[in-house]
């Protein structure tokens, strides 16, 4: 009765996985880069409208300024469950995980519309990734509120519960 583990089998399974993974990724239309690049976040003060390759991070004061002047559309990049628990009052929900570039929500907006995207806070990246998608679509005035809903709520700024109207 064979009870020992044959480690060479494990070695070959891993080698096969590496070869299949690399080959599949190379030929797949949805393949990814081998080396992931960090997301570049600039300060709003360094922002130029022609800058479409990096994400512009804004702080609470800048987000409040956009909010109070109704200058921007606030977009919650979290999933619909988090959104329905709490979100910035008036924000729309576009979950990053299910975002489709052809999203009908965005078709009604001008390419110069200011968007402020947020998620939970500093620890989450989905708003940054969604911002990159917005930029690729030509929405160059897209900003990321880095403090997210946590900082917004802590400061006592208006929030609301419930599902997105979209």
């Amino acid at each position: 009765m064979k009870t020992k583990i044959n480690y060479s089998v494990i070695f070959w399974i891993i080698i096969a996985s590496v070869i299949l993974g690399i080959t599949y990724n190379y030929f797949s239309v949805d393949g990814i880069d081998f080396l992931r690049k960090p997301t570049v976040i600039k300060n709003i003060n360094d922002f130029e409208e022609s800058d479409s390759t990096s994400i512009i991070g804004i702080d609470l004061a800048q987000a409040v300024n956009f909010y109070n002047t109704n200058a921007a559309v606030f977009v919650d990049a979290r999933d619909q469950w988090d959104f329905s628990e709490t979100h910035i009052a008036g924000a729309i929900n576009i979950p990053e995980f299910s975002f489709e570039p052809k999203d009908s929500i965005l078709s009604g907006f001008s390419k110069h519309q200011i968007f402020v995207l947020y998620c939970n806070g500093d620890d989450c990246d989905i708003s940054k990734r969604l911002a990159m998608e917005f930029k690729k679509l030509g929405f160059i005035n897209t900003f990321v509120f880095l403090g997210g809903i946590f900082e917004w709520e802590e400061t006592g700024l208006p929030v609301e519960k419930g599902k997105s109207d979209e």
């Binding site: 590496v18 995980f97 989905i126």
Partner: protein, 147 residues
């Protein structure tokens, strides 16, 4: 059916369940490598430059090991691979929970929406138990190759 046979067939059914979970999970990740790479990044454990390499390779390990486990080929070896993967995943989830990260697990597929948390840890411990018993049980049933 005597007690010994019942034990063997119960383990075989659990083994097939574990294999199917890994095959489906792996294929789902292969289908959307971007989302899986994003899920890995959310944990903030690995250096950014190795995230995509892991995202490219891990799903194939899951599918191949799961496939062999389903067919009952090299059960111990594939159970050990799955046990190791589950251990790494569980440690990552525990770290995420301790850090207070409210992120999607990215475990069973990329769009299942399941968050990291105690439920996911409990599920993984259950799966770890199955893999462990598959490693230590010398005789197996419902296999493609006679053990």
């Amino acid at each position: 059916m005597n007690k010994e046979k019942l034990k063997l067939y119960t383990l075989a059914i659990l083994r097939i369940y574990l294999a199917l979970v890994f095959i489906i999970s792996g294929m789902d990740k292969i289908n959307d490598l971007h989302a899986f790479a994003d899920s890995i990044e959310n944990y903030k454990i690995l250096p950014i430059y190795v995230i995509n390499i892991m995202a490219i390779i891990i799903p194939w390990v899951e599918v191949i090991s799961g496939g062999f486990l389903l067919l009952g080929i090299f059960i111990k070896e594939n159970s050990l691979i799955i046990f190791s993967l589950l251990t790494i995943f569980t440690i990552a989830i525990i770290i995420a929970v301790l850090k207070g990260l409210n992120i999607e697990c990215g475990c069973t597929g990329t769009y299942d929406g399941q968050k990291v948390g105690l439920l996911k840890i409990a599920e993984n411990i259950f799966s770890l138990g199955i893999a462990f018993f598959c490693i230590i049980t010398p005789r197996q049933v419902l296999t493609f190759i006679k053990q």
